[in-house]
């Protein structure tokens, strides 16, 4: 199993999509920084100072932590899932397309171990991606925007319903928590992509099917007409990862939705293993 893990990891880091995902995330951070700067440029100066009289009484609202928070929040729903789905979707279907799946399956390693080792590598990749993205945002925020406390206001991000503040060190810890909770939430997408990877012949189809399913639920969940259906979407449960940024983490809710995501992950993996175990590999 360890040897298999090492092999899968080597395959992953040698793939082009691995490098591409990190480059794309870096480009996104650069874009966010540009947006942040141009926004601040438009709003800065006397006008802002006057407006802030009634509210922040703190000119350091826009700091590196705020930048990192917004960047992470915006990218988590739509950008990072693409790379997770792409990598997980290629795991089995990619081997099939390359013609190596049959060969791997005749080796003295069980199909279950093969699939689990692939999933573990995808999980590690997901963590790496999230941690890299958060770390990069914090670094860019520190270097280009500045440091300070993380102030949270109602309305923006729908995160809190009354003003709150996280002190700098505490906020940094929350970003560390977010790398874990975010990874856990994204594993649902990874598990779905693995399932499609087993079911589909091509990695592209597996990736598109995963993203289509995710985006459909994600979009429908935001349409008011379907508000009553929202609690039944896995995308709603995935949102739990953001709770770590609340001034007081709602642990009960956090554990509830975290458990639901876990049930999705392990349940889908079970189904995937059951299908893969019985699948007749002809290519």
């Amino acid at each position: 199993m360890i040897a298999q893990l090492r092999l899968e990891f080597l395959k992953l880091i040698r793939s082009r999509s691995f490098l591409l995902s990190f480059i794309a995330l870096t480009a996104f951070v650069a874009l966010m920084l540009w947006g942040f700067y141009s926004y601040a440029e438009r709003k800065a100066g006397q006008e802002v100072t006057q407006q802030f009289k009634y509210t922040y009484e703190s000119k350091s609202y826009f700091n590196g932590l705020t930048f990192a928070l917004y960047s992470v929040m915006f990218s988590f729903s739509l950008l990072i899932p693409i790379f997770v789905a792409m990598t997980a979707g290629a795991q089995i279907a990619g081997e099939r397309q390359a013609g190596t799946l049959r060969m791997i399956c005749v080796r003295p390693i069980s199909r279950v171990s093969l699939l689990l080792s692939k999933f573990l590598v995808v999980a590690f990749y997901t963590y790496l991606l999230v941690a890299f993205f958060i770390g990069l945002n914090l670094l860019v925020g520190l270097c280009f925007v500045g440091w300070g406390d993380l102030q949270l206001y109602p309305g923006a991000l729908n995160l809190v319903d009354e003003p709150g503040k996280l002190l700098r060190d505490e906020a940094l810890w929350r970003f560390v928590y977010a790398s874990l909770s975010g990874t856990w939430a994204l594993l649902v997408i990874a598990a779905i992509a693995m399932l499609f990877s087993v079911l589909c012949e091509s990695p592209a189809v597996a990736t598109v099917a995963t993203l289509a399913l995710y985006l459909v639920f994600h979009i429908i969940g935001r349409v008011e007409v379907f508000e009553h259906l929202r609690p039944y979407f896995f995308t709603t449960d995935m949102d739990f990862w953001r709770d770590v940024f609340k001034p007081e983490i709602p642990w009960q809710s956090f554990q509830h939705y975290g458990s639901i995501c876990g049930a999705y992950v392990f349940g889908i993996l079970l189904v995937t293993i059951a299908i893969f175990d019985r699948k007749d590999i002809t290519s």
Binding site: Y153, G155, G267
Partner: protein, 275 residues
């Protein structure tokens, strides 16, 4: 086989966790307690119409229904918004059978005025300038020995978040001067759009301004109607009663959705606190 058993166990463990941990976080009425001092019941109500109508201010023909709602709920004080002027107040006080006294704010740069009604015969009324228009405050006593209560009736701009922010800031600055020695409550239609459906709205000035204005209010006051739900059509919670964070105990916050007449687009928000 072991892997399948492990995955099944983990899946079951997660399902157990989902059942075990309750996601609902019922927000109890903050700082409420079973027995306490005299109760103060307030209503805030924008009795105007939706912007789709020719005249979106209050219609005199609806005032009888407004009076019935007030009489049936028997509040100690009422904050009303979007009256056309003193004449409508006079008609309303007539329907209220002389049980309330009231005053309307100066019009300022607006074509509609706020009003405040109180039961106390000795109530004093004061205009409160903010952003070129006026809110109106009534200072009264619930009982002769109880502390003075100041209720402000306010209406922030419906179309400009910047103006809402300026209005709110100036009004709160005014009330801060009254916080010592009296219990200040603010009732009104602030038009804050805080429930941003689209998260990226952070970068629009409207949500930013409203969020910041609301935050400024909460520096000194508590949002007493927070758990009562939406107060206007399209599920908007834009009518608020703000009260001091510590000196009053919230007992009830309810939107009276059965109330209303004509084409009003707001429901009255009733808040009951113990002093």
């Amino acid at each position: 086989m072991w892997a399948k058993i492990l995955l099944t166990a983990l899946c079951l463990l997660m399902i157990w966790g989902a059942v075990r941990f309750d996601p609902s976080r019922p927000r109890s009425l903050l700082a409420s307690k079973a027995s306490d001092g005299p109760h103060l019941r307030l209503i805030t109500w924008n009795i105007g119409y939706a912007e789709l109508e020719d005249d979106s201010r209050a219609h005199t023909s609806d005032l009888h229904g407004v009076a019935e709602t007030i009489l049936s709920n028997d509040p100690d004080a009422v904050a009303l918004q979007e009256l056309t002027g003193p004449e409508q107040l006079r008609v309303l006080l007539g329907y209220l059978q002389g049980r309330y006294r009231g005053a309307v704010a100066l019009p300022g740069n607006s074509d509609r005025v706020d009003a405040v009604l109180v039961k106390d015969r000795d109530a004093r009324f004061e205009n409160l300038p903010a952003d070129g228009k006026y809110a109106i405050a009534a200072a009264f006593h619930l009982r002769p020995q109880s502390p003075a209560v100041v209720l402000v009736s306010a209406h922030a701009d419906a179309f400009s978040a910047t103006r809402r922010r300026t209005f709110t800031g100036e009004m709160i600055d005014w009330t801060r001067g009254r916080l010592r020695g009296s219990i200040v409550l603010i009732g009104g239609d602030f038009n804050f759009e805080l429930d941003a459906k689209d998260e990226s709205h952070f970068y629009t000035d409207n949500v930013k301004n409203d969020s910041e204005a609301y935050s400024y209010v909460l520096k000194y006051f508590r949002d007493l109607g927070r758990d009562a739900g939406y107060t206007a059509v399209n599920d908007r919670r834009i009518d608020y009663v703000f009260g001091p964070p510590e000196t009053v105990f919230l007992h009830r916050a309810e939107v009276l959705r059965s109330a209303g007449a004509g084409k009003m687009d707001h429901w009255p928000l009733l808040v009951e606190v113990a002093l």
